[in-house]
Amino acid sequence: MPEITQSTAAAVAGVKDGSTVLMGGFGNAGQPMELIDALLDSGARNLTVVSNNAGQGDAGLALLIKERRVRKVICSFPRQSDSWHFDAAYGAGEIELELVPQGNLAERLRAAGAGIGGFFTPTGYGTELAAGKETRQIEGRNYVLEHPLRGDVALIKALYADHAGNLVYRKTARNFGPVMAAAAAQTVVQVEQLLPTGSLDPEAVVTPGIYVDVVTVVATRGAGAAPEPHPAVREHTAEEMVGA
């Protein structure tokens, strides 16, 4: 059963100086912006951030980098037209970058959640990004050995949670959420709405509640806005309703 909190500050309290933080999102889709804002306010520094990108514009991860709270970024695509804060920090030698092909990033996170100690991937074989890594030919194909990528805390965004912590996402905002939720010691999720246990159909749950430690509601689509239909949300009977 996850902890439910109304405070984004309380939600991110598990992030300490020096923590490795997994941040969901692909571009802005699925980026837990309000949790990252709270992390900025928390003052935590010397962070290692694992995320697909290295921040955009003047918001979220970009601001953490601007404020030099991030020691190292592990990502696949730091260079964007509006990644000026990362560009500046990198140019000044004030941030470390570990560049990982996007699928290896996703698979390393998946391995961390799945208890896999390492895996042979064909992606990156023969390239600069595999330099120095162990390789092996298996059945005539060349592979690189990659290792799991674990987080102390994952900050992700989902559409709905129930009180048991089950999550569903919305369209391509799903992206890294499910694998990061399983790869961190503590998973913090911001959702549009929190529903009673029994409201999400077990066939359509994407992230089971076992992976979720803290839930906070951030209605980014406007407070009081009616939630849009989602196939997982079902009409619930009194018998099925648990929690509130």
Partner: protein
Amino acid sequence: MSGTGTRLSRQELARLVARDIAPGSYVNLGIGQPTMVADYLTAEQHVTLHTENGMLGMGPQAHGDRIDDELINAGKIPVTELPGASYFHHADSFAMMRGGHLDVCVLGAFQVSASGDLANWSTGAPDAIPAVGGAMDLAIGAKEVFVMMSLFARDGTAKLVPECTYPVTGLGCVTRVYTDCGVFHILEQDGARRLKLVEPYGLSADQIQDQLEVELSA
């Protein structure tokens, strides 16, 4: 550390295990005797049961009209679905186990060694058909592995042993052993694992020590 005057029945043992599961835990109960633990979990404990064939939030055994051939547990017994349940495929289910996300797994055993090695999948009989199922995944996956077994086999030999003589299921994985004669904890101390008797039943601690080839830690 005072025991009762009599050895524990299977029901009493199941009740004891249920009592020791922390509120809010995610738990997998193995096939056989461990399944009985479910009967003693209270609603206030908010324990969520996992079954490795792809479900969290498993409810009690199904009876009568509620039997559904496509809603079964790992023992292939029809079960029910509780609010907050979720279904997932086999790779996701075993990733959940292997990845250390379950708090407790309760298993039966042929033998447990003093250092927590578990033997529960094969008697090593040469003519037997080997079958392992999810035993090895359960053994190594959960944060805590509780074993339920009788302390002595029918021939009187102890099942808590210096080294397993049956084929092992996993090494150094058991954290607690619940037996009819007492509860044992296997604790990591100074890099070594020590076996400690925490609650004797029916026999005194000294009587138990006398019948074991392993040395109990103080």
